[in-house]
Amino acid sequence: QDKKVIAVSVPAATHGWTGGVVYHAQKAAEEIQAAFPNIEVVVKTSPSASAQVSALEDLTASGDLDALVILPFSSDELTGPVQSVADAGTFITVVDRGLTDPEIQDLYVAGDNIAVGSTTAKFLVDKLGGKGDVVVLRGIPTVIDDERIQGFQEGLEGSDINVLDIQYANWNSDEAFSLMQDYLAKYPHIDAVWANDDDMLLGVLEAIEQSGRTEIKYALGGNGMKEIIEKVMAGDPMTPIETPYPPSMIKTAIYMTAAQFNGQAPVRGTVKLDAPLITQENAEEYYFPDSPF
């Protein structure tokens, strides 16, 4: 019996964005299995890097895996284990975070975290006229967070925009709310706020609203959460733009991987998702009302 098995390994739904990833992965799995009875897609979530390595071992233990779609927790930690899977002849699709050794992956659907930071930064440089005071909220200390901050700082280079403060808020709206309140207490003048994830932006917006402070021109996020896209569509002056980092990239990757078991030639190489600026004009394209994210 030659039923083809595609395993999908993604982080557990611990916050909004990963929740979106799980949602899209499951959607893709259902759709593909309904359309192609000869393909089976198993989605597995893991709450940590080492759990993900374990999940890989479990998925390959039975030895009948044809393809693996993986959104790694971190590049360094998963490179070795994915290598072992690849060595068994499994087709490897890596999503979002590339492995340290690019040779391993057959297909790479890349998100661009650096671009998320730099696109936002460039927008601010432009709108604030090259100068001003901004505060930044970052997530959980991981590669993604690090890259976004790095991109943001690169984007500000050459301008007179001053980053007053960067603190962790763990991609959690409550912690972001508290942190923003404290920023507001600490800095009498803030021109703009960047939270490197939309979950946190929700908290930031509430804190700003409660403070009644009016000098803050922009509060921006990133990731493309539907609540924020709605704001962009509505032309919200505080949050006029958004940078997408669509969790649906996992769906794209699963479809591209599945295609080869459906008679098409396997797609190899790199598919780069850029992080274009979402504005009121193009917001509609990035709006998925049914997605939980």
Binding site: Y168, D174, Q181, D182, K186, P292
Partner: protein, 331 residues
């Protein structure tokens, strides 16, 4: 031999002060002084109000935890229970909006109190009927509640109906005679908690069960019932915290209440309640919750701590706060 017949001497004031109870407040004052030195804005009305208001959730839940802990239990599930009951409440309110309008809020509040009590009952029954360590039971239910909210929200979030946001908002952002509502709520909860723990039969029994289960049993106290009830009180406190919480961000997410359990237990212990049970200190617990929030606030307000090291400094301060407490206990 006749010492008892001597008229009781009024003890001097200094000795009558209960130093153990005072400990956390001493720590609080020292922290506040340090705060002003670090950043003069610290004592601004807005900042202090913000900090105290924010500490309300932890304080309210920790009042419940004081019962559980002083009766010899432990509840690790409070954080995810908050997320779970919040989710239930929002979904229920949203579903009632078409028929009831803003009254859905009242109905939702009533429901969440029941759900909280039931969730607490669930924990309590497994602990007492199954006779399993509370640590393990609530670690298990922590996973269960967290999974349920993730499931209910499909991993995303459960937003409150827009039409309810405005009428509900004052519950977090509103004031009453100058005090933010959450502060008032937590004072009321603490007052009721203190009343129950110190002034009712149940409170006495709670402490007795925590101090020595055998003595309690031989004194005619139904140990299982008292323990279970402590968990139910914990559940109700979680529900009250959830009611104050929803209007703040207007949504429940799988990250709601994450790691609150650790904060709650820390607040209780900093407040002077021993983890092994037998004695609960409601007001110390409230002070403990404020201390925690204040430390976090000071971390942001100070300028000389690398963002990477914030957690380290917090850890150090918590340990120092405990030391201050210990030494203020010996007058």
């Amino acid at each position: 031999m006749t010492d008892i017949t001597a008229p009781p001497v009024r003890e001097p004031l200094l000795q009558r002060i209960n130093w153990v109870d005072i400990g956390p407040f001493v720590a609080l004052v020292i922290l506040a002084v340090a705060g002003v030195l670090i950043n003069p804005d610290f004592l601004s009305a807005t900042n202090i109000t913000n900090v105290v208001t924010r500490s309300a959730f932890i304080a309210i839940i920790a009042v419940g935890a004081t019962f559980v802990i002083s009766s010899g239990g432990l509840d690790l599930s409070v954080g995810s229970m908050t997320a779970f009951v919040t989710g239930i409440m929002i979904m229920f309110m949203n579903s009632l909006v078409p028929s009831m309008g803003a009254n859905a809020i009242i109905a939702g509040m009533a429901l969440v109190l029941c759900v909280g009590a039931l969730a607490g009952l669930f924990n309590g029954l497994i602990v007492t009927v199954g006779k399993i360590e509370p640590f393990i039971v609530t670690l298990g239910t922590m996973g269960i509640f967290r999974a349920l909210i993730t499931f209910m929200s499909d991993g995303g979030n459960i937003p409150l109906d827009r039409s309810l946001r405005e009428p509900f908002r004052p519950v977090y952002y509103g004031n009453f005679i100058g005090f933010p509502i959450p502060i008032l709520v937590s004072i009321v909860v603490a007052l009721i908690g203190a009343f129950i723990l110190y002034k009712t039969k149940f409170g006495r029994r709670c402490a007795a069960v925590g101090a020595n289960e055998d003595v309690a049993r031989f004194s005619g106290i139904s140990v299982g019932r008292v323990r279970t009830l402590a968990f139910v009180i914990q559940g109700i406190c979680v529900a009250i915290a959830a009611i104050c919480y929803v209007p703040r961000l207007g949504a429940a997410t799988p990250t709601t209440g994450q790691l609150w359990e650790l904060q709650v237990i820390t607040a209780v212990v900093i407040g002077g309640t021993a983890l092994r049970g037998g004695k609960g200190r409601i007001w110390g617990t409230v002070a403990g919750a404020v201390i925690l929030e204040m430390i976090a606030n000071l971390m942001v307000l100070s300028n000389f701590i690398s963002e990477y090291l914030v957690a380290a400094v917090q850890g150090v301060i918590i340990i120092i706060a405990m030391l201050v407490q210990r030494f203020s206990k010996q007058p």
